[in-house]
Symmetry: C2
Subunit: 614 residues, 2 copies
C-alpha cells in the first residue's frame, strides 16, 4: 500500500512539491530545492528552520516547537521545518531569516566587501536550573555558562535584560541565545535566533533603512520612507527654525523622526521574518541637523555663525531611550559628524566610496537638499569638505510639475526638433517630472536654444508659449498625461534649477581653489546619492551642474552613505575609521568665503560669460 501524497507550497518563492504523508517540511523544502537553515542537521536542537504554516493542515506542535517558541508563535502557525510532519495539503511561508545564505556576502554599493566585525555577538548556552543547593541568581548562572563555554568574563546585565531573561530561561529550560556587546548582555532569545542590525541613512527628505544579518552581512530587507519631519519644513533651515521658535519644537521633531524610524524597523523586521528582540545593534547616519534633531541635542547654535555642532564625536545611545524597540539593552551607534553642515552621512559617503583610501585627486559629491562635497588629494594631509544649500528642486519640490522619482515620473527627456521623447519610470502614462528628468529637460532646452545662457526662455523659439506663470515649454500634452493635465517646464522651474546647480558648482570650485587644486588635476569625481545615481551625467555637464571634466573622470556609485552606514553597523574597524575620517576632515565654510557670492551668481549661468580681454 503506497502512502498518501500531499502538496506542499512554499512562499514567497512560490515553489510547490508533492511528498508522502509523514515527510517533514524540511524534506519537502529539500525536494523543492529550497535551502532552509539548519545547523543541527534536522535534530530539532538548533531552532533555525522556523517557518509559518499559512494554509492547510496544521501539524501539532512538536516538543522542539514547544521548546523554541512561545505559545503565541505556535498559535500563529510557526513550526520548525525539521520536526513538522506533513499531514495534508500545506502552504508554508519561509522567512528570510530561515533561508541558507552565503557567508560574508558582499554588500551592494561601491565599497566592495565589508569586513565583518560586529560589535554584538550571539552565543548559545545551556545554563543549569537553580535548586536549593545552587541558589545563584539567574544572571549569575547565565554568566557562568557564558564564561565556561565562550570565555565571556564578568558579564553585566541591565534590569531591562533581566526582565526578559528570567521568564525566558524558565520557558526554554535555560537553553538560550545570548547577545553580548563587550561585557554587556544586550538581550536573550530562544536558541537558533541569529542577531540582526539596523543601518539607517537619515536624510532630510528620505530615510533609507537596511536590516542586516550581523553574522553574514546579508541585507535581509531594505526600505525607504519619507522623513516624517517633512511636514515641519522641507529643508534643514526650516526645521531648525521650527525647533528654535516653538516651545517643545525640538522635542516634537525628535519624536516624529524616532517614531518614523521605529515604524520603518517594524516593516523591515516583518518583511525579513525577524523578531524585534533579535535586533541588537544599529547605526544611523545623517547630516548634522538630522543627527542633532534625532538625538535631541541643542540646535540653536547650528543656525548662527560660527555654526558649531553641540557634539560631533561618535556616540552610543540606548535604543529604548529613543523609543526604538530592539533588544532590551541594544544601543544605536551614531557615527561622528564633521561640522555644522557636514554630517555623519558625509563620513559614511567617504567610507562607502572609499574616498579616504584613494591614491589620486578625487571629489565626492552627494547631491541632495544639501549637497556635501569632499576632496581627497594625496599630500594634502587631510580631507577637505564643504556643504551647500542646493535646495529640494532635485527632489521635484518647487518645480511646478515636479515629483519624486516614483512610478509615472518623467526621468529622461530628449528634444529632437519639435519632437519631445520622454522616458517614464515604470513605463505608464506620465504624471510629473523627477530630478533627473528636469536636469535633462533643462539641458535640452538650452542645447536647442529655447533658453539662453542666462536661463531665460526665448519667446520666439518653437514650442515656447505663455503659460499661467510666464513662458514655458510643454513636455506632455493633457491628452498624453496620466492625469489629464499638461506637464511643462516653466521659467520658474528653470530658475530653481539654476539656483541649485549654481550652488553646487560654486561649492566645488571654491573647495578646489581654496586647497590650491586646479580643476584639471582632478582624476575622479564620484557622484553619490540616489539622485546622483539616476542623473544623466551628460546633461549635468551640459548645464554646468558638475565641473567640466572628461566624462571618463565621472563615476556614479549609488547610495554610498547607505553603504557607509552598513559598514559602521557591521564593523568596529569601520567605526574607528569613521572617527579618523571625521577628525581628519577640514570644513570650509563657503558663505564666509569672500568669492562665494560672485561665483555662485556666475555659476547660475548656463554658459560662463566671456571675460574681459578674451
Amino acid at each position: 500500500m503506497s502512502a498518501e501524497r500531499f502538496k506542499v507550497e512554499f512562499d514567497p518563492m512560490g515553489a510547490s512539491v508533492e511528498v508522502d504523508a509523514g515527510a517533514t517540511l524540511m524534506d519537502a523544502a529539500r525536494t523543492a530545492g529550497i535551502g532552509i537553515s539548519s545547523t543541527c542537521g534536522g535534530e530539532g536542537t538548533c531552532g533555525r528552520c522556523r517557518l509559518t504554516i499559512a494554509d492547510g493542515e496544521m501539524p501539532p506542535p512538536s516538543d522542539a516547537d514547544l521548546r523554541f517558541m512561545s505559545q503565541q508563535e505556535i498559535g500563529a502557525g510557526q513550526r520548525l521545518a525539521c520536526r513538522s510532519h506533513v499531514v495534508g495539503h500545506t502552504r508554508a511561508h519561509v522567512p528570510k531569516a530561515s533561508l541558507v545564505t552565503g557567508q560574508r556576502l558582499q554588500l551592494d554599493g561601491p565599497a566592495g566587501a565589508v569586513t565583518l566585525e560586529a560589535g554584538v555577538r550571539a552565543y548559545e548556552i545551556e545554563a543549569t536550573a537553580p535548586n536549593l543547593h545552587d541558589p545563584r541568581s539567574d544572571v549569575d548562572r547565565v554568566a557562568a555558562a557564558l564564561e565556561t563555554t565562550h570565555g565571556v568574563r564578568r558579564l553585566l546585565a541591565d534590569p531591562a535584560v533581566v526582565r526578559q531573561l528570567t521568564p525566558l530561561a524558565r520557558r526554554t529550560g535555560w537553553h538560550l541565545t545570548c547577545y553580548v556587546r563587550n561585557r554587556d548582555l544586550v538581550g536573550v532569545e530562544s536558541p537558533g535566533r541569529s542577531p540582526a542590525g539596523l543601518a539607517v541613512d537619515l536624510g532630510t527628505t528620505k530615510i533609507a533603512g537596511y536590516l542586516i544579518d550581523l553574522e553574514t552581512g546579508e541585507v535581509l530587507a531594505s526600505e525607504g520612507v519619507v522623513n516624517p519631519q517633512i511636514s515641519y519644513g522641507e529643508d534643514v533651515i526650516a526645521r531648525l527654525a521650527y525647533a528654535a521658535r516653538n516651545p517643545g519644537g525640538a522635542d516634537e521633531l525628535a519624536s516624529v523622526v524616532r517614531a518614523g524610524i521605529d515604524r520603518l524597523l517594524g516593516t523591515l523586521a516583518e518583511t525579513a521574518g525577524v523578531a524585534r528582540e533579535q535586533i541588537v545593534d544599529a547605526a544611523i547616519v545623517g547630516n548634522t541637523a538630522m543627527h542633532h534633531l534625532f538625538l535631541g541635542l541643542p540646535t540653536r547654535q547650528l543656525s548662527a555663525a560660527p555654526f558649531v555642532p553641540a557634539a560631533s564625536a561618535p556616540m552610543e545611545v540606548r535604543a529604548r531611550d529613543l523609543g526604538i524597540t530592539m533588544a532590551p539593552d541594544a544601543t544605536i551607534h551614531m557615527p561622528p559628524v564633521i561640522g555644522g553642515f557636514v554630517g555623519a552621512d558625509t563620513v559614511a559617503m567617504v567610507i562607502g566610496a572609499d574616498l579616504d583610501r584613494l591614491e589620486k585627486v578625487a571629489v565626492g559629491v552627494d547631491i541632495g537638499t544639501n549637497t556635501e562635497i569632499v576632496l581627497q588629494r594625496p599630500g594634502l594631509g587631510h580631507l577637505a569638505s564643504a556643504s551647500c544649500a542646493s535646495g529640494p528642486a532635485f527632489e521635484g519640490a518647487h518645480i511646478r510639475d515636479g515629483m519624486r522619482g516614483a512610478a509615472g515620473a518623467i526621468e529622461g527627456v530628449v528634444i529632437d526638433g519639435d519632437r519631445v521623447d520622454i522616458r517614464v519610470i515604470a513605463d505608464g502614462a506620465p504624471v510629473g517630472i523627477c530630478g533627473s528628468g528636469i536636469v535633462d529637460a533643462v539641458a535640452e532646452l538650452y542645447r536647442t536654444g529655447r533658453i539662453d545662457g542666462r536661463g531665460r526662455f526665448q519667446r520666439a523659439a518653437r514650442g515656447v508659449v505663455e503659460g499661467d506663470r510666464g513662458l514655458q515649454f510643454q513636455l506632455v500634452s493633457p491628452e498624453a498625461s496620466g492625469h489629464g493635465r499638461e506637464i511643462a517646464i516653466t521659467q520658474n522651474d528653470v530658475n530653481e534649477i539654476q539656483l541649485a546647480k549654481g550652488a553646487i558648482a560654486a561649492g566645488i570650485e571654491i573647495l578646489l581653489e581654496s586647497t590650491g587644486t586646479p580643476r584639471e588635476d582632478v582624476d575622479e569625481v564620484i557622484v553619490a546619492g540616489a539622485f546622483g545615481t539616476y542623473l544623466n551625467l551628460e546633461s549635468a555637464l551640459a548645464i554646468g551642474l558638475l565641473p567640466r571634466l572628461p566624462r571618463a573622470a565621472y563615476s556614479q556609485v549609488g547610495n554610498a552613505a547607505g553603504t557607509g552606514a552598513r559598514a559602521t553597523l557591521l564593523s568596529l574597524r569601520d567605526r574607528e575609521r569613521a572617527r579618523r575620517i571625521a577628525r581628519g576632515t577640514r570644513y570650509l565654510e563657503l558663505t564666509s568665503n569672500p568669492g562665494f557670492h560672485r561665483r555662485f551668481a556666475r555659476s547660475m549661468l548656463f554658459k560662463e560669460p566671456v571675460t574681459k580681454g578674451s
Copy 2:
C-alpha cells in the same frame, strides 16, 4: 566722618555682627568667626562662597554673581559673599555646602574612616569659545580642555549632558565644573560647585538617606522617611504577593519607592543647599526584595523555592531611567545581593561593622522586619548568613499600643513591685510604646512572674487584669497618657514578641550549629540597625531574643548598613569589597533546615524547657 554701620546676621548658626557699610558679606562672616568656603581668596572667581540674603537690604548682583548664577538663583537672593557689599541690615542664610569643612571627615558609624575614592570627580576648566576658524563642537572643546588640564582622555558625553552643556557654557563664558566618571561626562555646572552623592539604606519600613560631599566625605544632610510601599503591605512577603497578583503591581511598587527616594533627595538637597545638578553619584542598599522591586526586576521567583534572585551582581543604573533627578548622566550604584533573603543591606552591614575583617568569631545581627544574621569565623573560608522573618513587632506594628520610635513613645520600662517606671522619647506624656519599650516591658513582666515561661499572663498576678482582648497589664493610666487612653501590654502583644524573638534566636542557633560553631566560641555579637541601637541588651538577653553570652560580648553599632551604603558611595575600593563579600558569603535557607521548626517553637519560650535527664 565715620562710616555707617549695619548689623549682619547669619543663619542657621545665629551669629550676628556689626560691620561698616560697604564691607563684604565675606568680611562680615570672618568677623563673626564663620568659615565660608573660598579657593580664590575672595576674587570672585571660584564661586564657592554662595549664600542667600533672607532678609534686609538686597545688594545688587555683582558681575561674578551674574557669571556663576542663573537669573532664578539671583532672584531668590543668592549672592557670592566675597562680592556682595553690605548696604543695610542683612540676614543671610549660609548653606552647608558653603561652609569650610575638614578633609576626610570620619563618617559616624562603626566602621571608622572611609577611604575616599569616589567614582565621580569634579574638574574645573576654562574652554575656548568657538569662532569661524575654530568650529569644533561644544563637547570637543570641553574634552580638549579636560585633556590638557586634567589628563582626561577621549571624553564621552551623553545627549542629556550635551543639552545641559551647550547653554551653560555660553552663560559662564566656557568656565565650567565638569563631573567625570571614568571617561563619561556625568554633568556640568558653574565653577566652584563641588560634587555630592546620595547614599540610601532602603528598608522595608524605613528609608534612610544621606547626602554626602564627595570631595570631603562629609554628611551634608541626612533624613529618614517611611517607605511609601508600606501601603501595599507591611512586610516583604505581602509586597511580593502584591506584585505577583496585580497586573502592573510590580511597576506600581517600583514607581512609589523611586518617587519616595526622589522626594527624599529633594529634601536633603534643599537642607544642604546643594543643587540637584551637583548630585552625581548614588549608592542604594536594601534587602533583595527591595532591591528587585526598586529596579523593576522580576520577583515571582523570589517567592517560591529555591528563592533565587533574578540578578545579584553589582549594577549601575541611570538615575534618570528611574525617575530620580540628579546630574543628567548620573548613575546609581546598586551593591550586590547575597541571595533571595540576604540582600545588599546585609553586605553593607558587613562593611559597616567590618565583620569581614575581624580576626575572631563574630555574629552580626541586623534586626528589622526581616532579621539578617552573618557569622564570621576565621578558618571557615567564607561568611555564613541566614535570614528570618521576624515581623514588624519591633517597629510597633501588631502591638495594640505600639508605635515607631518617635516622640511620645515609651522606650524603656522598669517594674518595681506595683510601680511602673517608664522612659518616654522626648520626655512628654506617653502615647504608645516602641520596640525597645516592648522588649523591656515583656522582660519585666517575665522577671516579676506576671507572665510564665510560655508567655501566658498569670491571672492572679498583681496588675494583671482582664482587658478587651484578654489578660493584660497596664503601663500607663488614661489620666497619665498623652491621649487619654491607657497604654497596656496585652496577651497578644506578648505572643507577637515571642514569635519575633523565637525566629531570631532559632536563626542564630541554627546558623551556629550548621557551621559547627559552639555558642561559647562566639567572641562578639554585633547588634546593628536602628532598633538594635535602642534595644536594652539586658532585657533582650532576659527574654532569649539574643544568645546567652556574657554582656561584654555584645556591641551595639547603630546603622551599620547606612555606614556601609556611604562607604560604597564614597569608595570604589569598598564597591569591590562588597562584590567580594557577596561572592564569599554562603546562605543557609533556614526553613528547609530539618531542625528549624522545632527550634523555633522552643525559642518562643522565655525559659528553655528542662531537657530529659537533666
